[in-house]
Assembly symmetry: D2
Homo-oligomer: 508 residues x 4
């Protein structure tokens, strides 16, 4: 069978076809669920069809995975690193095609699509080194002839539930680390990006096969909420990494906690940029543009709130309105496009609904504010001048809508930044050391990501990615995020023949 459009033929290079089986179970491709259609958000036309997982598929997958984990855990970490290295090489060899698929199916522009795939590759490279550095500690014991160890062991199976906006990078953050740590991965991608889920899984599967390892080490499902819930409830899965809204995340957390599992949550953001009077305005404007309209405002780190010092606010707003008017909106794969479509028709409707509330409250729309009539899900990047007290400012509207609010002092701006329930990303533009260090200090931004003179989005993998409060508290990618994928044992070994007690206690 062939693809509907010739420009989709490149998908064959990454082992996709016009119809696809959506689950990788016990090293085999099979799926017995309903057939769904993956569509191109730029025109809402079919790209290809995918058969999703049923609960029976899930169960079969998990049984195999539970077996495979015994094999995988017993392989020394540096050898697991070698497998992840090969996965990185496999992805690298398909970088362009995968990036194009991300752009096609998710709707982000091509450079962002390729950047997203590059991020998994970076994660693989990073995880290889990490596989020799998952270090425990030897801690001095207060007792003679005793040694105290802190040992890190694999958890077993890690469930990874990812969202449409980063259909593969978030898998990369989790899977690369989880795998070198000795865990098997069970992945459920977003229901609207099944082709990416399949394409990435195929590359991983190939590497496992080539190394004579059980395919079930990486178990992957296309599917919806039912599969997500199965993962949440499954006590064979000690850790569930979930990316999505705070509302759903909270439900996942409760379900997982009830069975004494752990969660790693990456939930909603409501990210602000502060521009001080002494900021480099040109740098700020470029950054705000990337932060607010990049990925059509559908990054969890997208800038949604802009706090402008009153002395420069008009200047910045004028410049922003200027560039917003020139931004090229269009097919995400077309050269020169800066803003692609929203991911789904529903997202577009959500945007409309949000704008109509804003209008009903008589806030001033500086630019944009409309959907664009077309086959695709395009909307205009929008700037709204608003008051900090408006309830809409407290919520994450997942599209290219930027709220602008003025302030007078740094303290005020920080207070506004911290006044929402979300705590993901934040950024200040300033040239004063005092402002920089206050911003990153105890009385500064309460977010997980606290930037200076760069946008709220565009994190590097070397740091820990994630946010506080309603954003869920998880940390992925770099730093010591790997510890979340392992269990910690505090071990005290007595190698003498006496039994001295801690705190000098005498018993008996």
């Amino acid at each position: 069978m062939g693809f509907e459009k010739k420009e989709y033929e490149f998908l064959r290079e990454i082992a996709l076809d016009s119809t696809n089986t959506g689950c990788f179970i016990n090293g085999q491709w099979k799926a017995t669920g309903s057939v769904v259609t993956s569509v191109n958000p730029s025109n809402n036309q079919t790209i290809a069809k995918v058969t999703e997982a049923t609960i029976q598929d899930y169960e079969e997958g998990l049984q195999a995975c539970s077996e495979a984990v015994k094999t995988w855990m017993a392989i020394p970490a540096p050898k697991r690193g070698e497998i992840v290295r090969q996965i990185g090489e496999a992805l690298r060899s398909k970088l362009e095609h995968l990036g194009r698929l991300v752009s096609l199916e998710m709707g982000k522009i091509l450079p962002e699509g390729i950047g997203e795939v590059q991020e998994i590759i970076d994660m693989c490279d990073y995880a290889v080194g990490l596989s020799r550095q998952l270090n425990g500690s030897i801690i001095p014991s207060e007792r003679p002839n005793h040694m105290m160890f802190e040992v890190w062991n694999p958890l077993g199976i890690v469930g990874v539930i990812t969202a449409f906006n980063f259909p593969c990078a978030v898998l990369g953050w989790n899977a690369c680390i989880a795998l070198v740590c000795g865990n098997c991965v069970v992945w459920k991608g977003a229901p609207t990006t099944p082709l990416i889920t399949i394409a990435v899984t195929k590359l991983v599967a190939e590497v496992l096969e080539k190394n004579n390892l059980p395919g079930a080490i990486f178990t992957s499902f296309c599917g919806g909420a039912e599969i997500g819930q199965a993962i949440s409830k499954d006590s064979r899965i000690p850790l569930v990494s979930f990316t999505g809204s705070s509302k759903v995340g909270l439900m996942v957390q409760r379900t997982v906690n009830e069975r004494f599992g752990k969660c790693l949550l990456e939930l909603s953001g409501n990210n602000a940029i502060i521009v001080m009077d002494d900021a480099d305005i040109k740098l700020a404007v470029r950054s705000i543009l990337f932060a607010a309209v990049g990925t059509a405002g559908q990054r969890c780190t997208s800038c949604r709130r802009l706090f402008l010092h009153e002395s420069i606010s008009q200047n910045v707003m004028d410049q922003l309105v200027g560039v917003y008017k020139q931004v090229k909106i269009g097919d995400s794969l077309e050269k020169g496009t800066l803003v692609g479509p929203l991911h789904t028709r529903a997202s577009r409707e959500n945007f409309e609904k949000g704008i109509s509330i804003i209008k009903s409250q008589a806030w001033k729309i500086l630019v944009g504010g409309s959907v664009i009539e077309s086959e695709g899900n395009f909307v205009q990047p929008t700037i709204v001048e608003i008051s900090q007290d408006a309830p809409v400012v407290k919520e994450e509207l997942f599209g290219p809508v930027l709220y602008v609010i003025k302030f007078q002092t740094l303290e005020q701006a920080i207070e506004m930044n911290n006044s929402v329930s979300q705590g993901l990303s934040s950024s200040i533009f300033t040239s004063r050391p005092e402002a920089i260090f206050k911003w990153i200090g105890p009385l500064g931004s309460d977010c997980g990501i606290v930037n200076v003179n760069i946008p709220t989005n565009g994190a590097e993998i070397g740091g820990a990615f994630g946010g506080e409060k309603a954003t869920g508290g998880g940390r992925e990618a770099g730093s010591d995020s790997w510890k979340q994928y392992m269990r910690r044992s505090t071990c005290t070994i007595n190698y003498g023949s006496e039994l001295p007690l801690a705190q000098g206690i005498n018993f008996g």
Copy 2:
């Protein structure tokens, strides 16, 4: 007013009286709640009376605390360390008296009472050093003229809800670290150990006062579930550290998560000791005794399950029965006592109920099995030979009851160890390196504490204390436990004038 008994006069040395005000609010002692009686578990007679907190008291305390945190956060960490050092000195100067009070009010024997206070002192000493080592990281950025920081800032207020069995050490684990990290502490002690709560708070208060610091930095309440719930629900408290049962802990967690707060949980244990055929039997028997009857089996790390290799099982059981019969049970303050009373009449009843179930199922009681008729809450340390499949083995019976089960292979013993929902502590006795390293490795014990040739209890402060699964996953005291008391910011600072993007993305 005087104490009822002359032997309670020593309490005046630690600023207690026969009637006491139970809350330290905004630097002042006040309380408007009901008056409760603290009793001696060895005879159930009154020690002294305490007025508990009302919700109004709580609110007043929290308001002051919310103000005080601004002062405390702004003090450099090493200076906060100096305050904690002084707290340590204050405790050290009252070590004997405080230890005696712990023994008197909680019911543990005197050496354990003193050991518990010593543990807070150790924590203070440790936290002083830590106050200069709450290190963030400077991580290489992939972008020129950028620096990436991982900065650790205080959370704000840390709520600490402690249990009767370690009425002050658990406060010490939390408060010493929380304070040097820049947090204020709100403490609710166990309702049945109010005198300890007051005595410890008084020493802390004195140090704060001497240093002209707001007393509200350390806010403390005697009270019950109402105050505990207030803490759980209070969105001014980003972190709640709770010690108690898995059942209550799960409820606390849900409440705290719903308001996007974090929990640090130290919940139920159901700890096992494995004795291999090649073990040092003498060492094992001594250790089992301390682990199973120490603190009358009321430690979260008490040994409740004993797995004996069939080849040495009879020998070990015989020796244990022998020592159990000689163990001196009696007033916790009396010299030579090894087993004091259970903490409350209710605990004693709970023990009776547990034993009657065991009897009803016809399991073999090797020794003990009865309550002891007296004014106090004494029960006999008990050993039961039982099957791994008995449902009672899966639950934590909070008293000196030890279940004995035989096994044939190490794998079997590990499987039994891991088969319960709790995951706190575990220990093996063996002389084979292979067994030791398997036990602490990926296929070994799944507990947070994994010992070798020492009991399940008696942890040192230098390691991280806590457990997995139903035990809640928190880690207190040493290692990097301090990170739980801080929020992590990943900061990227651009000090150039260009805007290069991560993953080499080109935008616009």
Copy 3:
């Protein structure tokens, strides 16, 4: 026998007398060498007499120390920490008296004398915490059934040779860490500050005795170069920590290396402050004053070179000349004195010689430039306007002489900063983030201490103290400096029965 002056009577409080025995050997005070006189640099009159060590004394001390180390090593690190804590308490109880002695015998002003003693106390507090954190690592092995450890063990005996300018703080940096690490300490203080050496040793000795530990754990000698050489040559001393000039340090290093020992060197500095055009001038001037005239310019971190951006150079020079003229010079113990005497008559002569060279080359002396006629060793704080090319600028003149040089660009200033052989401390005053981060980056200052908007001197103990190039490369006090006092073992343990080889090699 009595002290010559009544104001020396306070020395009795710290166990000194008008005649003193200068060696603490095998837990006893004895000395068979020549009798030297300790004089007050403010008037060159005798404070007290001290009998120094002979080589026989040294040998006796080292033999005892070599025995004591076996005991000390076998004590768990946290217990060693407890001893250091007690030493800290002992010092704290004598803070004022010891500080006064430092001021009296060394000649620094009283607040600096007390600050120096406070620094040892801080080090003790820090080392106590560290005693539970001398952590090794557990590193993932690439071989199945293997564990890889990095273990840190004590070296044995650490020799500490200190200089007159910090007669006890440098001992503190070394001894506190060395002791918790499990090493015995052999200390030789400066020949001109024997009373401090004795007073500090007495407090340490008391603590050892109270704990029934061998006194030889801390072995201390008053003496000169002969004892220093004995330490350098002694193969029983695996590490020699030496503070002094680059010239002597290099000789020590060669001697120690020849016998395969290690050195920790803190040698000469030639420290610069850069003041940018955008600096806070008031802050800069205050800092330069403290850096250049504090301790009469006799700190290894004293500022000797001042680089002024041409646009603010006249302003800064004017202000400096103004404050230099008002600085109170006088008896170091007198209230209000800011500049005490140089330590010895020889130092004063050295100053004179330096000034005469400067004059002979016709450089412009802006202020000062003379010795002060008096009984003491007083000289005028001096500022010289000079060219970067003048050879004297490359050398450390150990007194309050400041060379001022103008510059035009940051790059120029950094190049000048880095152009000397020494590499200890450096500082910039600026308010631009770009300048700050360039200064601390790869193309910035090449010193071990790289400050911003504070003086070159006045380090905190939490960081690592020391410098690069001719300054010797050692690091003392905080960070991971403790690793220098331990030996590192990379341990691979095979607990299986197979012999897999690294790098997948097949042998036989």
Copy 4:
């Protein structure tokens, strides 16, 4: 021109020819020195000819390198990591050929040759991850509005002088780390392995060229002592990493120290294996064989001393003599060979001389003891029963000679292990935890490598490689070895407008 033998034709695959230019200078291949011949140690026939460096070549190379370092330092570390990743890929693509060359030119057997190249590849993979983890620290300051940083910056140029026995792995340990740390590398390979130096350099050069980077980032010389001395004396090279004998290493160290440079020394070893009475004898015998005859005893970690518990000594010796007699000696490239030739005729003569001393002292040669008459440099693997007091036991005889000595207690064996001036590697075979932990503890082996139940040789890259005492104290490869390739700055930044001083000092 063609190779003399057809079996050398594979060298064309790694860009070698029968005549070769021996220096890579400023991105170009040139050399103006004498022409040397590389010979095959299995038959002492010419492989190919190489033109060596003159001092003029060296100077030209260093000038270019000094320029290139400015470019390289300014590239963000993760980008440097990407270059090292590509170098790893380049090596991986030539693994077989390079391994064959190592075997051919050095004389080790093929699996060891390939293993050596694999080790550089492993190092590259490791260094890639490390390039995002060269972390500095943010340390709490005791002063308000101050931040304390520990920043790691590149040193500049790192000189690497390697030895014949690991003609490329040691380069890999150093260069991979040095490069990601931001340093340029100046490499001088062993004079007798020029082809390997050239082949490896060519692969690196290609990667640099492909990335448009200055070739001088990696500058490489074939040459002898003259070039080594030039490196030692060159003050443009802040760090010299030297691998070789203790005697030469000490001279290098002195030269480098005199110009205030740093050394990283990997010098002589004299490594022992202890076999306890409770050892797994089969495992021990296999390990001793690999440790003593692997690489024909020419590893720095080769086992030279064997301490046997008297109860099992005869058994072990009998088994060893048995396997020694069966060991296949022959051409290093021939399949099945276990012992290749010594590297040079001089090594063979040295072996003869050593044996004749042993014979002259009447020690008992259990097996071997002769050179093998042939065109190559073959000698018999030899075991000598000897006394601990024999002076020859204290020295490193660089060939397959094993001294066997009996002992009675663990303490005795450890004392003998520690009684030599060298301190590189050591190993114990035992099954008692007590012996294991004593061996790796404060009173155990004083070596840098302390193994249990594996040979003295065959280190993994994840740990730090190196030894104590006369072995020089350097550490290469894993753990925090990277810190040696960077300079550490302790930075304190004041971002407020006040000037509080450390230790609470009041100045002025």
